[in-house]
Amino acid sequence: MLVERVLVVLDLAGCVGIGIFASRKVLGSRDEYWVAGRRIGTTVNAMAIMASLASGGSIIGVMGLAYSQGIPATLALFAGAVLGFPLASLLVARQLRNFGKYTITDFLAFRYPHGVVRYLVPSLIVVAFTIYIVAQLKAAGITAQALLGVPYDAAIILATLVFIVYVSFGGMVAITWTDMIQGALMLIVVLGAGLAMVWRVGSPLELMRQATEVAPELGQVTHQPVASYLGYFVIWATAIPVIPHIVMRVSTAKDAKSARLSLNLAMLAYSVMILVAVLAVVPVGKLHFPGLEDADLVFLKVMESEFPTLIRGVAVAAVLAAVMSTTDALLLACSSAIAHDILGGLLGDRASEKTMAVIRVGAAWVVGLLALYWALSPPDLISRFYTAGIGLLSASLFVPTIAGLWWKRANLAGGTASLVVGAATYILAQLRIFDLGVAPVVIALVASATAMLAGAHFGRRESPTMLEAIAALHE
């Protein structure tokens, strides 16, 4: 385990170093801190977007899920995110980059200027993302315990302190560079492992044939109800265009074209990584380790049996990189919801740039330490809750954002109603206060769209000034 530990320590030290180096530039400027001065190039941004989305779940989880639930249902979950990228690229990237602010709250509060929107949106983000961060920290702790022999508590305390330091002091600049390196590491490890597996057998189809002959359930989906994976598909497809850590990345691009191209390239890289993991690594795992009790270990078991120590060490670093690259982006987005959206909105121009810098750093520490507190004794089902948290954001933000950008009749009443009704319906459906036999996110999106239509019908028409401002975002 020495090689693995050394590589992980080097990775963590590198992140802290980048954070401290970046802090000299970013602490005094809002633009630098939240959106890296809006000068991130296309390739770097694409890799950072891919890394932000590819959490521990995208490396360990996707393979574990395919191993236990079969390939088709697993791909349905991740294809939702892949479909979400074109939606983001075609429906929001140009407009939000042209808008030129920092967060999704900035846009929604501008489009629907009401206190409910200004404070409900960041509150939903804080709730959903804190759950997401706790789930990621738990994944980091379990991974470090299993792979490095480090106790769970010690692992997450160390990991959290590292995240907090480089996110709070280095802002978006530090996150972009660490995510780019971590994204490249993930891509190289998964593609390298997959290609090596295929090379040995001859072709991916032959590999799949051998695996499904031994374990036919790998290719089947009939044992699963459609609703079980349709809901996840819809959640991720509708989340990507509005999810705060992706929207913030759109704002870091140097222009609207670069923002859209970054999303397209990120989608390509993410898609290829998931397909290689599921179609090349999982079949080998099923052939060589047919009875794994913990399916999430399949990737590491394959790496252990097929590759030498150094490459195994790089694979462990890649898994932790996947966890870290998502958690840091979530932490920044969550602290932006508190420091920029809520406190910035309350203080307005009364706070000096220095005060705001202290608030920015403080918000990251508060969110990070709170998440750490929960992660030390996490609820049992936290890993399942995080997708529900993302579903809450999809259900509440998707309709008002897309309608606000594209539908001329979207107005204050419709936007506010669709936000509140989408969130409330999703929560009630998740708690099974009512159950229509359809995925909660589908019911909530329909309810949100209906509320938008009703608001547009009964409310006051939008002013020509607002419509002109929105039209300008499309140019």
Binding site: S89, L90, L91, N264, W406, K408, R409, I470
Partner: protein, 67 residues
Amino acid sequence: MKEFFAMRRAEAAALLFLVAFSAFSFLPVWRDIEIGGIAVFGWLMVALMLISPVLTLLVFLRGERRE
């Protein structure tokens, strides 16, 4: 359609195609038929994951050339 802000025709077509392809993929019939040991639904998801990025990239590059 005057109620909506204009979208480029190629972009709208790509968007509609991807949404229609997704809906088509989720038809229950594809769960029962298998090709090469994998349910057709699985292959359709593979296709969606490849077609989505490539199609969107092509539409973007075409739009850039026109500009």
